[in-house]
């Protein structure tokens, strides 16, 4: 493949630049000139290829699933299960080797031959139309990531995030490690990862950078039901097949039901979001397992799904939670015919054996749900483009979700009624100043209002970038 050769060429030129190789100044200068010319030529090639990729999908084998060995790039190889086109409208952001960086879509900046760093960020303005006093402007997140290649088969990959601008014990911000894992390719088409990894469910969790989704905020379904950004610690195997399937299976930590707070709103905002552990001294008696796949055998089409399950009592000695099992499953499809970008996703979760626990939470506002679900359909249109870089994509999304669709029954009719299903229309547009800088605007209309859960019609503005 053309791009692989390109990557190799760049890597070799980089290696060639090693300073200790030349004693003679003049000779050095000449060599540098030659290399410069070569680099210019390569740059041209890269641009050409990027332009090609903005065209309606050209039949090509799935890009993902290539092993580190195959790409031999100083920056990140491709995640085995990365959808073909992480950015909704734009040329895929690439590493210096022309490979999309998994989990970023940004191009990254090389720091020497083996290390690169990258980043993304997001600033939001949310104005509830009925309660202007609750309007907030926020530096929602700023992220720095790094990728370091130890050898052609092994790398370490990490992402560090700051949320809400200021993080300290008395401020509302947080600092967190979102991903940190070592990856080792065992063969050109499969490998293993160990560490803190994003759970490969849904369209957004692994590709959560603002230029990768429509709308100022991430969709509700992939926050409330699939608790993006959801990560767990453990071991995963990833790989790809010749017929276009990228797969990822893993075993590792899971949520901790013992941490459920029946008095707080969090469990109704996102049941799993309120008890996921983020590898922060995670209670880890009960391992969870997951399996996910994305099929991209037909250009422009992505069909995928996955399941995550495990017991979530984690050996709690005081609460009746040890028999409870979480099952979260999900299916999604994304189709990009011509200038359109259409996607749909459905996900559903269950937590078993919650009667005894909820009996202790009787009357509290947030018992543990027995089931929760959500789904959305979304259509976007790459309506306008200016030059090679700028473009405008209006979109429309309809979501339905329920974070407590049912509760286990309680004696004497003392149980809590399930929550009503929320429905949200989002209409708006992403304006890409260039593929990596996006301005967003949207309006969200809710079926019902609930201030405690931040449900209420609102107008949003946002800026996102990645590199």
């Amino acid at each position: 493949m053309q791009r692989k050769q390109l990557a190799l060429a760049i890597l070799m030129s980089c290696a060639g630049l090693a300073p200790n190789a030349y004693a003679d100044d003049a000779k050095l200068k000449a060599e540098v000139e030659a290399l410069r010319a070569e680099v210019a030529e390569l740059r041209g090639l890269v641009h050409e290829m990027q332009a090609q990729r903005t065209q309606p999908p050209t039949p090509a084998a799935p890009v993902s699933g290539q092993s580190i060995a195959a790409t031999a790039a100083p920056a990140a190889p491709v995640a085995a299960n990365a959808p073909t086109a992480p950015a909704p409208t734009q040329p895929v952001a690439t590493t210096t080797a022309g490979e999309p960086i998994p989990g970023t879509g940004g191009s990254g900046v090389a720091l020497g031959a083996n290390t690169s760093f990258w980043g993304y960020g997001q600033l939001d303005y949310n104005r509830p139309t009925a309660r202007a006093g609750d309007t907030v402007a926020d530096l929602t997140r700023a992220v720095i990531g790094f990728n370091h290649v130890f050898d052609e088969n092994t790398r370490v990959y990490g992402e560090i995030e700051w949320e809400h601008a200021v993080a300290s014990s008395s401020d509302k911000g947080e600092t967190e490690i979102e991903q940190l894992y070592v990856e080792h390719a065992l063969a050109p088409n499969y490998g293993v990862r160990v560490g803190l990894m994003l759970v490969p469910l849904g369209l957004l969790n692994e590709h959560h950078e603002p230029s990768n989704y429509y709308g100022v905020e991430r969709n509700f379904v992939e926050q409330a039901i699939i608790p993006s950004t959801w990560r767990e610690g453990g071991v995963a195997m990833y790989g790809s097949t010749e017929w276009g399937l990228n797969w990822n299976v893993g075993v590792g930590t899971g949520p901790n039901l013992g941490a459920w707070d029946p008095t707080a709103d969090e469990g109704r905002i996102s049941p799993l979001g309120s008890i996921h552990q983020e590898l922060q001294l995670a209670k880890a008696r009960d391992p969870s397992i997951y399996a996910a796949g994305n099929w991209q055998g037909i250009p422009g089409l992505l069909v995928g799904g996955g399941i995550f399950t495990g017991k979530i009592g984690q050996g709690n000695a005081t609460l009746p939670v040890n028999d409870s099992r979480l099952v979260l499953s999900e299916a999604h499809v994304r189709w990009q015919p011509g200038p359109f970008d259409l996607s749909a996703l459905y996900t559903r979760g269950t937590i078993s054996n919650t009667q005894d626990l909820n009996l202790q939470f009787l009357g509290q506002p947030t018992p543990v749900p027995k089931s929760f679900w959500g789904g959305y359909v979304q259509g976007a249109w790459h309506a306008l483009a200016w030059g090679n870089d700028s473009s405008l994509s209006p979109f429309l999304r309809y979501e339905m979700f329920n974070t407590a669709a049912s509760y286990a029954t309680q004696p004497f009719g003392l149980g809590t009624a399930p929550l009503p299903t929320q429905r949200v229309w989002t209409v708006g547009a992403n304006y890409y100043l260039n593929p990596n800088v996006v301005f967003k605007i949207d309006y969200q209309k809710f079926h019902y209002e609930d201030v405690a859960l931040s449900y209420g019609n609102r107008f949003d503005l946002g800026l996102g970038y990645q590199f």
């Binding site: 008095t263 005081t318 202790q360 004696p411």
Partner: protein, 418 residues
């Protein structure tokens, strides 16, 4: 002399930092040799606790010779008062009335020194106004105050201690000449009391019917469960917002208080002699007993949330002991604003004098925005009469010493067999 070792080695949880240093220094001065004594802290704690228990029950340590800590904090009544007087009287002749009703000393083990939480909520501290930062500091007042054991000063207390039947035990723990230094010996006595209050299981037995329910050992009845749901429900009793009812983050059972403060606007109690003076108001956090927050007029009238464990064994309710019936107290919670005339006296012109135990200019401090006391005249009370019955039945499950065989509970059952 192992006691000092455990204290100076920082193993003691029940003394605040500054005090520990002072105490440690004093003990070192009193008995320089004791640190090298070393040894196991467990027997040290047991020995201290045993000494503390004797002091707690010793009536000879009072001016009257008839009043001990246990007189007011009767272990059989979950370490609260055993009579229905609004306030107890102390002094040499047991005729000097106090100012507040006696709180239970159970489940104070999680209480921490007073502080303002990030959102400004006053939290922690000992006494109903939180003015003592730890149990060692707290124990000073009952020994000295004119309306309690009335010793006047440390020397008077230590003089009595030196003649107590356990004086040798005291010397064995704190040094042969400990009684020659009044301040040191007084501190040591209070330290022993604090160890007793925090380490003796009888102060936190978690032995109620509700605890057995939480452990999955029994089912509560339909009415008990209904009452529990009403107690928790944010739209009904909302009691659990302050009287926490679910396990703590570390898995420990709930103690039914969050050790914060609130102003309930409890009616003035004419039974308290100090209230004969119309200008006198007991305003909790802002004084007059507590003095450091006197300029925080927004806090006037706030008192500490007490535990509701053993609440049905309490003879009088609230800081001023105004209610003698628990049912009436719960009724007051939900009908204070819907039926104010039921709880407060009418002025000469017939207008109801609501919140009559708060100075007129500070009645706005009374909490009228949070359930269950966020209602208005004409609204339905947060709990109906049958619902109050349910809550009452639930509250009865919080009494220590539950015996499944007889279905009865008695806090006295948790006391060590004599």
């Amino acid at each position: 002399m192992i006691a000092g070792w455990s204290l100076c080695a920082g193993k003691s949880r029940n003394v605040s930092h500054g005090l520990r240093a002072a105490l440690c220094a004093l003990l070192l001065a009193a008995a320089p040799g004791f640190v090298s004594g070393g040894g196991n802290t467990v027997p040290a704690q047991a020995a201290l606790s045993a000494l503390g228990q004797k002091i707690f029950a010793d009536e000879s340590l009072s001016a009257s010779g008839k009043m001990a800590c246990a007189t007011c904090h009767d272990p059989k009544f979950a370490h609260a008062q055993n009579n229905a007087l609004a306030v107890q009287s102390g002094g040499a002749n047991l005729d000097v009335p106090g100012f507040r009703s006696v709180p239970s000393l159970r489940y104070l083990n999680l209480n921490i020194p007073f502080f303002f939480a990030n959102d400004g909520t006053p939290t922690g501290g000992f006494n109903r106004d939180g003015r003592a930062n730890d149990l060692v500091a707290q124990a000073e007042r009952p020994f000295l105050a004119a309306h309690e054991m009335a010793n006047g000063d440390a020397a008077a207390v230590v003089d009595k201690l030196s003649r107590a039947s356990y004086a040798d035990e005291f010397r064995g723990l704190f040094g042969a000449d400990v009684f020659t230094k009044a301040d040191t010996a007084f501190l040591a006595a209070r330290y022993a009391l604090s160890v007793y209050e925090t380490t003796e299981p009888q102060f936190r037995p978690f032995s109620s019917k509700f605890d057995l329910f939480l452990k999955g050992k029994l089912r509560l009845s339909e009415q008990e469960l209904r009452g529990y749901a009403l107690f928790n429900n944010p739209n009904k009793g909302r009691c659990a917002a302050c009287h926490l009812s679910t396990r703590q983050a570390n898995g420990d059972p709930p103690v039914f208080t969050d050790y914060t403060y609130d102003n309930l606007g409890v009616p003035r109690n004419a039974e308290i002699p100090a209230n004969d003076d119309p200008a006198y108001f007991d305003m909790g956090l802002c004084g007059p007993e507590r003095t450091d927050l006197a300029n925080r007029s927004d806090l006037c009238g706030q008192f500490k949330v007490p535990t509701l464990r053993n609440i049905v064994t309490r003879k009088v309710i609230f800081h001023n002991g105004y209610f003698k019936s628990l049912r009436e107290a719960v009724q007051f919670y939900v009908q204070r604003d819907t039926n104010a005339d039921k709880w407060y006296p009418a002025d000469g012109d017939g207008a109801v004098h609501k919140f009559n135990d708060v100075p007129p200019l500070l009645t706005r401090n009374v909490n009228t925005t949070e359930g269950p006391y966020d209602r208005h005249p004409g609204d339905a009370p947060a709990l109906s009469e049958p619902e109050i019955d349910d809550v009452m039945v639930f509250l009865a499950t919080l009494t220590d010493g539950y015996d499944p065989a007889t279905g009865t509970a008695d806090p006295a059952r948790d006391l060590p067999k004599q």
